[in-house]
């Protein structure tokens, strides 16, 4: 069962203070409403992964890692590799997160990111067949939220795209006759082939204003949000409304406009960290 989440307890005074600051056109850390916090990237955090990238978006920290395995293709796509995305909010990341299997929030985050990568064909899965119809690369993308200070989807998307774009395919030998694939992770057979870059821009509605990249305190006051995935060629490649509130048609149009602008910026930032 999906259930209305517990309302975070924020003292009235503090709430009003935050709303006042936002109404004046700034985040509580003084940024303009439509600007992102600083983005730091640390690559190769987990050398045993085929790629791993830690993204810090302000105090929010997300670690994404990739493991490649040899597996079977999906029957309806026998000549393509397989992408599987999972996400976990580790209990260290927030006093309200609990240990256990991924909850609906983590599952939704993983599925939004999965669709936003899959639909624009960001990863060239068609180049990942080893023995067409029988053996393909399975790309496991695992996302861990390590510290939650707001705007998790955007941070997770940056970490995910960077993890994928920096993935080294292990060296492998295919025996077409027997169908055996030997892999040797100590050597590499090149980078995972990418078609294009994608970013998500999540627009939060707080009071009457639309903002991007809120801190956790600000985010707790948002009535609704809209995660919009945009690709480097300027298309909209995914969308997910979340939260207990609603948007007017006009707000939706503003949100799209914001996302196209900010998405371009984020993709430029992402590009800098690709090997």
């Amino acid at each position: 069962m999906s259930s209305t989440p517990e309302t975070p307890i924020i003292p009235k005074i503090k709430m009003n203070a935050i709303l006042n600051v936002l109404a004046k056109g700034n985040h509580i850390d003084k940024r303009p409403l439509l600007s992102y916090r600083q983005i730091d990237v640390v690559k190769n955090v987990s050398p045993n992964a085929d790629s791993s990238v830690l993204v810090k978006l302000g105090y929010t920290q997300v670690l994404a890692g990739v493991k490649l395995e040899v597996g079977q293709p999906f029957p309806d796509n026998p000549e393509e590799g397989v992408l599987i995305v999972n996400a976990e909010y580790i209990p260290a990341a927030s006093p309200t997160f609990e240990p256990g299997p991924p909850d609906e929030n983590a599952i939704e985050l993983a599925r939004v990111i999965d669709r936003s990568i899959r639909e624009p064909r960001a990863v060239a899965l068609d180049k990942l067949a080893l023995i067409p119809g029988r053996k393909v690369w399975v790309v496991w993308l695992d996302i861990y939220v390590l510290d939650h200070d707001g705007n998790l989807i955007d941070a997770a998307m940056i970490a995910s795209i960077l993890a994928l774009a920096n993935t080294k395919i292990p060296y492998y030998e295919v025996d077409q006759a027997s169908g055996n694939v030997k892999i040797d992770r100590s050597k590499t057979a090149g980078l995972l082939p990418m078609n294009k870059l994608v970013a998500t821009v999540t627009i939060y509605k707080i009071g009457d204003v639309l903002v991007v990249d809120p801190t956790a305190e600000e985010e707790a006051l948002a009535s609704a949000s809209l995660a919009i995935a945009v690709s480097e060629d300027g298309n909209i490649v995914g969308m997910q409304k979340r939260g207990l509130g609603a948007f007017t048609e006009k707000e939706l149009e503003q949100a799209i406009e914001i996302s196209l602008n900010k998405g371009k910026e984020l993709i430029e930032t992402i590009r800098k960290f690709i090997t």
Binding site: S2, T4, E104, R111, R115, N235, Q240, K241
Partner: protein, 241 residues
């Protein structure tokens, strides 16, 4: 690219003969279960969804109750024989878990939950047959079930998907269009107060296509909304007679 994609638009017509802006045939029935406080079945094409509502009722376990509002709980699931092809495992899939949340958040903006603090309103959406548009039919049905249960709402919520198939923006995707189309965008709204309570996009649209698709969705939603009102009237008129 999925293998074996069929042609989806032939001479301006869709695989089931509709024009791009046609809805599939729709049937709605309110009050179909005896025990539930409210219930409804919505059929759209071959898609068939049952929704039931219990509440406001006591929250168990008690620590989940909220002092200033009713909590809304929602479960979307597909019966094991409701899908094409093989039997669906009854274990909740990640898709079902996500859609339970998406449907809850599509309905919550409409429910005046502050009126029933420390209670729960439970919404069960059961897909009896799935041929495209189960989440939107589920929202439409659940909204009727909420009304049938007498839950105060700002407005009914109506929902439908739009999408892009063979380059054309179309309304109310069926199973084949959903599977092979370029984009699928389910939308829910409270038509009389102009609020969009749910929007998802699965696929690729240009900004212009998005605008066109949204208009088409809102137009479809209005038509569904009128059918909802008729269905409710029909039930309550019948009872009064």
């Amino acid at each position: 690219m999925k293998a074996n994609k069929p042609q989806l638009i032939i001479e301006g017509k869709r695989v089931d003969g509709r024009t791009p802006s046609d809805l599939r045939p729709i049937k709605m029935e309110v009050g179909v279960l005896r025990n539930a406080d409210g219930s409804a079945i919505v059929e759209i094409g071959n898609t068939k969804v049952l929704a039931a509502v219990y509440g406001p009722r006591e929250v168990v376990p008690r620590h989940e109750e909220q002092v200033d509002r009713a909590i809304i709980r929602c479960r979307y699931r597909m019966l094991s024989f409701s899908t094409m092809g093989e039997r669906k495992s009854p274990a909740p899939s990640r898709r079902e878990i996500e859609l339970s949340k998406v449907i809850r958040e599509a309905l919550e903006p409409a429910i005046v939950s502050s009126q029933f603090p420390r209670t729960a309103i439970d919404i069960f959406v059961e897909v009896l047959n799935a041929e495209g548009g189960t989440r939107t039919a589920g929202i439409t049905a659940a909204s009727l079930a909420l009304a049938d249960a007498g839950i105060p709402m700002l407005d009914l919520v109506a929902a439908v998907a739009v999408g892009k198939v063979d380059g054309v923006i179309v309304l109310d995707l069926n199973e084949v269009e959903d599977m092979y189309g370029e984009a699928d965008m389910p939308v829910a709204a409270m038509p009389s107060i102009g609020k969009i309570t749910m929007i998802q996009l699965n696929g690729v649209l240009t900004p212009e296509e998005f605008k066109k698709a949204l208009k088409l969705a809102l137009d479809g939603i209005n038509r569904i909304y009128n059918l909802q009102k008729e269905a409710l009237k029909k039930k309550y008129v019948e009872i009064e007679e």
